[in-house]
């Protein structure tokens, strides 16, 4: 039985945990404001807000999610908000709705509610509202009538209004300003009560499943690939498990990520930001705000896409993963050894990925992530690549390069990395490294590009890494 709040309504449902929140909202609760556009998280027409009680038990953190890929089970214990849950009295509009109407940001209207919800999430955010964060809030919403310019203007209007938003008691202020109805103020108390109730219930029937069920994280891959299967089988939800969350640094300098850490968790982590100052730029290239709120790092690894952005990122960091059996047996495996072939893993079916660790790069090390896709944002890479380099006096001491989209698995470029070690940083070295690299990749022609393009593009990304690291030693014109 799943328990949560949908708008102002307490929900108890025995619908499958692996069914989608979208179907529940539209076809079970008949709330048709939330639209179906693509069912793969790529259009944002089904965006809803998911509010989670914070550890302090006081505040709620609302995140935008595409309900088409949100497992219903991940709503458990939360506050789900659809447009029906923010609408004010008939004939009136919230400031978000007013801004969109005023600036002509709605044409056919089919995508509009998604934008309304994303921007309402922006208003509910605890982070300062800037023009950049406003646009980022709607970066997962597609408008085919392409009212983007008017939606930009509407967002700018809202950002101005949100400048007055206080740091404390945000929901009270938003409620006064009519962004959300007054019942939002009661939600923390209601969710606390719900949690207490659920804890008691859990203790009463504490049954462990015997066999390992289908593990389901944020749903961003499984509910695209196999929605019917996930809906039909028992699932083991990991998204909300506290012990699988968190990002910390150990005394030995290694960084440890819980497997259910999301891409957005990475972005928000002060530790990650300190280690990778350009992290926001990298992650801006990875899917969209709602998908980053949902998709987990471990999910990206286990999905085994040859082009997984986070996989490529962590391969160059020499990350390791910890696998755990249902019987709690653990083993550690270098990430680069996880992949056996196209979409096949060396992980046993009984094993769950629980932790990811990597050695923190030294402040003098170089690290860069590159991604080129047909559309720069909210797209799957044609080729992506990450590079970690330790250098001294114009020579590479050690290098680790990874590349996606150029083989059946996310590739650690073993030979290229080895070749670079000890070489002088020069155009000649890079040309030779490229020659090595071209022999350890095997791209195929597909919807993301022809094989010849991917070869050329990876060469360019190799150059891009080194042009960023050592602009004083290399110039573009020498390379091409």
């Amino acid at each position: 039985m799943l328990h949560f709040y949908l708008n102002n309504q307490r929900i108890r449902t025995d619908q499958p945990a692996g069914s989608t929140l979208l179907d529940f909202v539209r076809y079970n609760q008949h709330l048709t404001g939330t639209k179906i556009g693509c069912r793969e998280g790529d259009c944002g027409a089904c965006t809803v807000l998911v509010g989670e009680l914070q550890p302090d038990g006081q505040g709620i953190r609302y995140q935008s999610m595409t309900s088409c890929l949100t497992p219903l089970g991940n709503a458990h214990g939360k506050h789900i908000v659809t447009v029906e849950g923010i609408n004010a009295a008939a004939g009136t509009l919230t400031p978000v709705q007013q801004a969109i109407v005023q600036e002509g940001g709605s044409q056919c209207g089919f995508c509009t509610v998604g934008f309304v919800m994303s921007l309402t999430g922006h208003a509910l955010s605890h982070k300062p509202a800037t023009s950049e964060s406003g646009l980022a809030a709607i970066d997962g919403n597609i408008c085919r009538c392409t009212g983007y310019k008017s939606l930009e203007r509407a967002t700018a209007l809202l950002t101005d209004q949100l400048a007055a938003r206080p740091a404390e008691n945000v929901v009270s202020w938003l409620s006064e300003q009519q962004f959300v109805p007054a019942y939002f103020k009661d939600i923390p108390t209601r969710l606390q009560a719900l949690q207490t109730e659920l804890q008691a219930e859990n203790e009463a029937n504490n049954q462990k499943p015997e066999a390992r069920n289908q593990i389901l994280g944020g749903g961003t891959d499984l509910l695209v690939q196999r929605p019917e299967h996930i809906r039909a089988v028992p699932v083991q939800l990991v998204y909300d498990q506290a012990h699988l969350r968190g990002i910390r640094q150990e005394a030995d300098g290694r960084v440890v990520l819980g497997a259910a850490a999301t891409a957005e968790n990475l972005r928000d982590s002060p530790l990650m930001q300190q280690l990778f100052p350009r992290l926001p730029d990298y992650l801006k290239l990875v899917s969209s705000t709602p998908i980053r709120n949902m998709g987990t790092v471990a999910g990206n690894f286990v999905n085994a896409s040859p082009i997984g952005d986070l996989t490529i990122f962590f391969l160059a960091l020499d990350a390791s993963i910890t696998l755990e059996t249902a019987a709690k047996q653990r083993r550690e495996l270098p990430l680069r050894e996880l992949y056996r072939g196209y979409k096949t893993l060396t992980k046993e079916a009984d094993e769950q990925l629980v932790e990811i660790t990597f050695p923190a790069p030294a402040s003098t090390d170089f690290f860069n992530f590159e991604k080129v896709s047909k559309r720069t944002h909210l797209d799957i890479a044609s080729v992506n690549s990450a590079a970690w380099v330790r250098a001294e006096n114009g020579f590479v001491q050690e290098a680790r390069l990874s590349a996606g989209g150029v083989g059946p698995i996310p590739l650690f470029l073993t030979n290229t990395s080895a070749f670079l070690a000890g070489k002088e940083i020069s155009a000649e070295t890079l040309a030779a490294a490229n020659a090595v690299m071209q022999t350890e990749i095997s791209p195929i022609s597909d919807a993301r590009g022809t094989a010849e393009y991917k070869r050329l593009l990876l060469r360019q990304l190799l150059f891009a890494h080194f042009l960023r690291f050592f602009p004083e030693r290399i110039a573009l014109r020498e390379l091409v």
Partner: protein, 764 residues
Amino acid sequence: MNHLDPVRHVRGESQYVDDIPTQRGTLHAAVFESPVAHGRLLSLDFEAALAQPGVVRILTAQDIPGENQIGGIVPDEPLLAEEHVHFRGQPVALVLAETEHQALAALAFIKAEIEPLPIITDPRVAAAQGELIVPPRTFRMGDSAATWSQCAHVFEGVAESGGQEHLYIETQGAYAYPTEMGGVRIISSTQGPTAVQRHTAHVLGIGMHQIEVDVTRLGGGFGGKEDQATTWGALAALGAYVVRRPVKLVLDRMADMRMTGKRHPYSSDFRIGLAADLRILAYEVTFYQNAGAAADLSPAVLERTLFHATNTYFIPNVTATAYSCRTNLPPNTAFRGFGGPQGMFVMESAIVKAAEALGVPASAIQRRNLLREGDLFSYRQPAEMCNAELSWDTADKIYDLEKSRAEVAAFNAGNEQFKKGLSVMPICFGISFTKTPMNQARALVHIYTDGTVGVSTGAVEMGQGVNTKIAQVAAQTLGISPNRIKVESTNTTRVANTSPSAASATADLNGKATQLACAALRERLLRHACTEYTLNYEGLEIHNEQVLAAGVAADTNWEKLVSSAYWKRVSLTENAHYATPDLHFDPTTNQGYPFAYHVYGTAYTTVTVDCLRGTYTFDAVQIVHDFGESMNPAIDQGQIEGGAVQGIGWMTLEELIFNEEGRLLTNSLNSYKIPDLYSVPQHMPVHFLDTPGHPRAILRSKAVGEPPLMYGIGAYFAVRDAIRAFRPGHLADFSAPITPEKVLLNLYPAAVAAAVPVAVSAEA
């Protein structure tokens, strides 16, 4: 006045097909489609599928009571495949089940035995084999063949433009209910309710009066629901008719992308001849249109390509020939611009080819050849109230071409990795259905006794704001507040025999009909006021709901007047018909006066290309557009911005890739990319050209639907310009879309071969 619909849209209260509460007993339909692009359909085995839970019935061509035919222009398209399949995704059978999940799940259990036949995907191959949808058409003016010898310069080449998926965010769908007396009521997401009605009646073998089609609004259409909504409406109706239960059919995204046609890809040969002073003396072009497996609207699209083959230029000697080529792809169809953009892309390619060879800016050739008042188009209609030069020169005055070019050059001189490119794209687009009889519309206006007004027309609201414009016309003509007016759903029982909402002409045609109906009602009410209140008809008007006699408030207002008219048995309903005057066109000579008027405009596009990665961002698209006297600047500006961005998508990101088996590889939103927030130009000013508008336009406010799409063509040429800044003298193929892949391959043509080691490439 604001667009009316958005107030409902932002609250999620607007109803689309899938939002309509389902009736008790509703069955859900899923379409079994051909898994191969061409073959002989030998047998179908439904045994296992019928045994699946919830499956009620599976329908095939054998279950069609009338004629299995939905072809609009040419009767070459069965509703459900019979004997042969002609494209991957062609509907073969319809599964009806208790739930949508059950219907979809049953599809996997259907077995089809199909003997494969050769597959054609390339229009030139089809043409060589004589696989033509209709005989080729040629538009001819002057004598191009005799002119080449007089030209100082002659250039020729090939230009290719890709297709474009409509990607309306609301997928295709319909909900059909059996009605008493053996009819069917269909709620359809269609731009052409009458087409759905006509073809469904035909398929069911009953009269059109037995089929009611109702459309509230569409979640986007863009041409994709003009003819291609018919299949789903007719299939749902077939289910409802046969099983006598309501049937709902809504395609999922990937099915929609696989099964429906798109903008036509074109492959074209051009030859252009110029005088020493850059006047274009002659232009020859041959278009190979990839029509797909059935005619659909292809012959009409082809015709518009010919109408717009010379864009906004006067060329005295033109020979333009077009072949509509039958291939084994889904039948391609209408898409905003309707073949016009494809023709204009070739014209611009020819100009750029000449400019690059002659070492002059393309803009020098463009400006030199712009249409002037009275110049003839190749179809012999003169350019009247011509704003080609005015829009170009206004753009130059506001946006300063020389200065823009100098800024781009200065940036490029100072940057190695990033290069900017600039293009100018002037447009000219004819407004009207080129099939003259379609230029008619009707409006049915009821005034209720409380003074509120209901307006029905044939216009379908799909985001273009036509309902708002119609409400505006009604309010303005009656002299009352728009709040009193409701624009009703589009319904074939209220307004019959409608033309589809297409050709940018919807507001003009239906707005004019509304205007006529409201004017008749106003006159009737004022005549009544004369007798009732003893007033002089001269100088009598209704303004702000008040009756004014020679400018002085009379002792009655709108509400009182309406009420008293009712009690005096004056009709408060009017039905008006409008047919655009003066139009004629002879498709045998390809001459006439097909367009009510033309719309003009000019756009400057500036792009920055990252020459390391091959990616690009659009800095600005600066537009001057000929709106006439815009009746709703907010809506009109939205159409211009939206159309231009859609055009940019077509020219840059949006790439349909079919493999040799006719399978669509870019079959979902994760592989087919349309513009997102970050891919639109950062700066996009739209200047409203100051003109008196055109009397054939509604309230002198010109049509805005399609013309702006063609500003997007400038995106291709701006990127090409930037590539040449990095690699001077490089002659890229004229091949759109210019994806980041094509950019990179053009930036490094020599490296492509070198980057592929022989041993590895053999292995790959």
